[in-house]
């Protein structure tokens, strides 16, 4: 029993400080070290340690120690019987000299003896061993009183809760990481599936082989230039990959016709955006706009597109991106009835149709993307891979693209009128 008020205040001060220390979730090691100081200082205990229990390894691993020396084991193994007894004992301090029957105290007797460990406190929280306290002799040389043990018990509970919380956080972090990896894996699977699907769409048209994949990649370039997040960029790419999915229902002879198709065939072909929308809508995509890109990728800012003749602000943004990517690929690849157009002509066409067919800011973004590559500022050479080296080295291309960037209006005229 404490003999004076100073000692009493000292002990309760330690309890209060411990309560505060264990709420610090930032530095677990520091929290446990502080806890050991507080419990040692509260009762003037010469040496001791705090261990955290690994239920997988059945080991008590020392987190903090004072005065135990370098020879004290850093890990102490518990057998089934030890665990059973400690669980039954709960948080109450065990006198080491009276517990020698337990395997744990027999195995570690030399270490406990040489460091004069007198008390072993299993940290049992919610019927689970989370750690242990090892406490040496008191500075007074007196044995631990029942009052001391009550104080130790209260402080041990605080430390046990801190370890338990840490374990919980570690478990949440582990599960969160597992979920993240699972999500990543699902995303990869989704993207692989989408790419496989795009390849399947392109297979139907022998002259535009790889079209969907290229539109996906051009859409990705535009989204990147717009400064979109990685997820949004991926969404734009997916929208590009799947924009022509509706063509799966169009007869192969119409798609592969080596001539300009007639009005009837054209009407059949023009159903593909709406069909694509129907195919994609029931699928739960990570990116909401994918079906809209399929439906509206033939719309134009001036309202002369199809299927609905929408105007600028009525057209979903993702569809505007895919429209540009789709048209660019159509102009830069050979068709059964038409050779691909020269690079300079294509970029002049894009510039000329900016504000009519294409959103000006997207044309600007696209031009900036190719300019970076022409200037050697981008490492991955996406355009060169898609268009070929010779095409990218067309004479005067950089000048044409630069001129386009300089002359393009920031927004379309139609948008400006709508804004007024």
């Amino acid at each position: 029993m404490f003999e004076n008020k100073h000692a009493l205040i000292h002990t309760f001060g330690a309890l209060a400080d411990l309560g505060q220390a264990v709420t610090d979730k930032n530095n677990f090691q520091e929290t446990i070290k502080t806890s050991l100081h507080l419990i040692s200082g509260a009762l003037a205990i010469m040496r001791g340690g705090v261990a955290r229990y690994s239920r997988y390894a059945h080991e008590l691993n020392m987190v903090a120690a004072r005065g135990l020396g370098d020879d004290f084991p850093l890990s102490l193994t518990l057998c089934f019987e030890d665990e059973r007894q400690f669980l039954a004992n709960g948080l109450y301090p065990i006198e080491v000299r009276e517990a020698k029957a337990l395997p744990f105290f027999q195995v570690y007797d030399p270490s406990l003896e040489s460091t004069k460990i007198e008390l072993f406190v299993p940290l049992v929280i919610q019927s689970e061993i989370v750690g242990a306290l090892l406490l040496g002799e008191k500075a007074s040389g007196l044995p631990y009183s029942s009052y001391d043990k009550e104080i130790i018990c209260a402080m041990a509970r605080h430390i046990g809760v801190a370890i338990s919380q840490r374990n919980l956080l570690a478990e949440i972090a582990r599960q969160s990481e597992e979920n993240r990896q699972l999500y990543e894996s699902l995303r990869h699977t989704y993207r692989d599936t989408v790419q496989a699907f795009a390849a399947a769409i392109d297979c139907k048209d022998k002259y535009t082989e790889g079209h969907s994949v290229r539109v996906g990649k051009y859409s990705e370039i535009i989204a990147t230039e717009l400064g979109w997040s990685d997820e949004e960029i991926e969404g734009a790419a997916v929208a590009g990959y799947l924009h022509d999915v509706g063509k799966l229902t169009v007869e192969r002879k119409i798609i592969n016709a080596p001539y300009r198709i007639d009005a009837k065939e054209s009407a059949e072909l023009n159903k593909h955006p709406a069909v694509g929308f129907e195919i994609l809508t029931p699928i739960h995509h990570p990116y909401a706009d994918v079906p809209l890109a399929a439906k509206y990728h033939h719309e134009r800012l001036d309202g002369r597109g199809y299927p609905d003749g929408l105007h600028d602000s009525e057209i979903p943004y993702i569809a505007k991106i895919v429209t540009l990517a789709d048209s660019f690929d159509a102009m830069t690849t050979d068709r059964p009835y038409k050779r691909r157009r020269p690079a300079n002509e294509v970029f002049e066409d894009l510039q000329g149709n900016s504000g009519k067919q294409f959103a000006p800011e997207l044309v600007t973004a696209f031009f900036k993307g190719i300019l970076k590559e022409l200037a050697g500022e981008s490492k991955d050479k996406k355009f060169r891979k898609l268009l070929g080296r010779e095409y990218m080295e067309s004479e005067g291309l950089a000048r044409v693209v630069q001129s386009g960037v300089n002359n393009l209006a920031p927004t379309s005229g139609l948008t400006a009128i709508a804004a007024k």
């Binding site: 100081h37 507080l38 040692s40 200082g41 509260a42 003037a44 004072r66």
Partner: protein, 107 residues
């Protein structure tokens, strides 16, 4: 007198008692520096450590724990620990806790 801020590892203190100012930092986890400095002096051959409490109003549990660390290290090295200028309340606390059994008090 050696305060924490002034301590240098290369100070020549041949056989002189090392004087350590306890101050307020004793009561914080950063006070472990006192232990480290004391161990350094003991390694240098110093056999008397004087902990000066003249600027220490109270000693909390962390402070007691750190002082016990100093005592333990000194005991292992066969050195003497002196607590100087300890106020009355703190003396009373040290006596109750049994700390005074391991040190010499000096005013």
């Amino acid at each position: 007198m050696i305060s924490l801020d002034e301590v240098r590892t290369d100070v020549n203190v041949d056989n002189e008692p090392a004087i350590i100012l306890a101050g307020d930092y004793l009561n914080k986890i950063t006070g472990e520096k006192i232990e480290r400095e004391c161990r350094k002096y003991l390694d240098q051959g110093i056999r008397e450590l004087i902990v000066d409490f003249s600027q220490t109003e109270i000693v909390n549990s962390i402070g007691v724990s750190i002082l016990l660390g100093v005592i333990d290290s000194a005991s292992g090295a066969g050195a003497r620990v002196v607590f100087s200028d300890v106020n009355e309340d703190t003396v009373e606390l040290f006596e109750t806790l049994g700390v005074t059994k391991h040190v010499t008090l000096q005013n």
